[in-house]
Amino acid sequence: MSLRDAAFESMLQRRQLRGMIFEAIAFLAILIGLLTLALLFYDIITSGVERLSWDFLTSFPSRRASRAGILSALAGSVFLVSLMSIFAFPIGIGAAIYLEEYAPRGWLTDLIQVNIANLAGVPSIIYGLLGLGIFARLAEPITGGRTLLAGALTMALLVMPVVIIAAREAIRSVPSEIRLAALGLGATRWQMIRGHVLPYALPGILTGTILAISRALGETAPLITLGALTYVPFVPDGLRSQFTVLPIQIFNWVTRPQEAFHTNAAAAIIVLLAILLSMNALAIYLRYRFEKRLMK
């Protein structure tokens, strides 16, 4: 029998053509995305880069654009995110461990799971309102009102679902054979979790937490709702200190009429982007390093 068959070949050509068309469309899609991003970067960098300097990083905001800097916003962001991590991660990871390893399967657990997934999708401004109601007003005797502590607690609530979901995914990805191997050796459940599940899930958990931090760094709405200030000429000096963060500072500058403040905003955006990108790079690097240690 001959391999070549004219009727079949003409059909085959049409089949191949369809594949190529789809490939072209997919390529176009990614091209549009990348071009837009590149354009955005180009725009920001060209308008902001000249303003970047050590002074810009180490000065407080000012009414004069040329003397204004982002020190208080940068410090506020760092303090806020660090404080948030202290609250969110132990609780989030703990919840994930409980849900994956201990919780009995049943309607209640299912309900909790569905709700956590839903919470991750709730608009951040709602968290701002919640934070305002609970942490800034109700818990004012503790938090001192619209303070760094209240902000960190609010942000902790905001990122908690993301942390829980990421940690659960990571814990769930631990092969059951490893769990069985540990239990088969006479390990208790906690020995199994401590000895094998957590080390194995660590890269995934770390990635999740770093992404949560990135998200928190970029959030503006809940903090504005909570009442973070827009003009803060000092570095926070305690949990009950007032504060601002980078996105709020940027927002503030963008809304000014003067062109020079817009340049400041662009420069601050470059700083924020640099921080975010390096956090993501760190996440990727950590994941790679842990996986390598684990696998070879």
Binding site: R105, I178, A181, L185, Q191
Partner: protein, 265 residues
């Protein structure tokens, strides 16, 4: 409905199942299981897929406890102690009755740590180096890995990984080793090595092995239990038990005969 084809072993037995039934939720998967596992012998569980071999195996170290909705009825004893007594902690059971799984599952840690972890959590007081060497020697792996003890266990070949899992199991000094198709993921040479190893191990341990490979059951085991779905096809049980040599040359139960000659299953 114990069949006359279940010859009770008359020597010392270490594990015993009496009228064991296992349910997964509402579904009954095992019924009326009678089985005595002879001490320091290799006993093979054979039977078609879905005949509950692994389920029965897991009754003996309470691994079924880990499956949600699993329930074991009847009596499972170890040295005449009820393994399912409410006083008995499954952790204690698994320390005495070790397990080797179908797919080699070393921990993604060093070879050395794979051996020591189980011993450490069980409170082993002795020199770890000695324990590692002794366990690896018993598992016929020492010569192959003695120069790379601190390399990751996942860098070993499949057959070596499985022998490491056996070494890991014997490092906590169990009396019984349950093996769930330990060679089904291995090539024929690695399989033969595991089988050779089993022959050596039975001097010190009692082995209960589930296998799909009848030639393997015939090669390695002293006793064989044949499992099969009952008439109504809802649940399975042991239909014949006896010396391996007798089962493979002249089984008494027609269904065993049909299964091992490849006519059903």
């Amino acid at each position: 409905m114990t069949s006359q084809n279940i010859v009770q072993f008359d020597g010392p037995t270490i594990l015993k199942a009496e009228n064991v039934a296992v349910y997964y939720g509402d579904k009954q998967v095992l019924r009326d299981v009678m089985l005595s596992v002879p001490t320091h012998k290799i006993t093979a569980l054979i039977g078609p897929s879905g005949s509950g071999k692994s389920t029965l195996l897991r009754c003996f170290n309470r691994m079924n406890d880990l499956i949600r909705g699993a329930r074991v009825e009847g009596q499972v004893t170890y040295h005449d102690q009820d393994l399912y007594d409410p006083e008995v902690d499954p952790v204690e059971v698994r320390r005495r009755i070790g397990m080797v799984f179908q797919k080699p599952n070393p921990f993604p840690k060093s070879i050395y740590e794979n051996i020591t972890w189980g011993a450490r959590i069980n409170g082993y007081r002795g020199t770890m180096d000695e324990l590692v060497e002794r366990s690896l020697r018993r598992a016929a792996l020492w010569d192959e890995v003695k120069d790379r003890l601190h390399e990751n266990a996942l860098s070993l070949s499949g057959g070596q990984q499985q022998r490491l899992c056996i070494a890991r199991a014997i490092a906590i000094e169990p009396e019984v080793i349950l093996m769930d198709e330990p060679a089904s993921a291995l090539d024929p040479i690695a399989t033969l090595k595991i089988e050779e190893l089993m022959h050596e191990l039975k001097e010190n341990y009692t082995i209960l092995i589930v296998t799909h490979n009848m030639q393997q059951a015939a090669r390695v085991s002293d006793y064989t239990a044949m499992m099969m779905l009952t008439e109504d096809r809802n649940s399975a049980t042991v239909i014949e038990f006896g010396k391996t040599q007798a089962i493979f040359t002249h089984p008494r139960d027609r269904r065993t005969e049909d299964y091992i000659t490849g006519r059903i299953g």
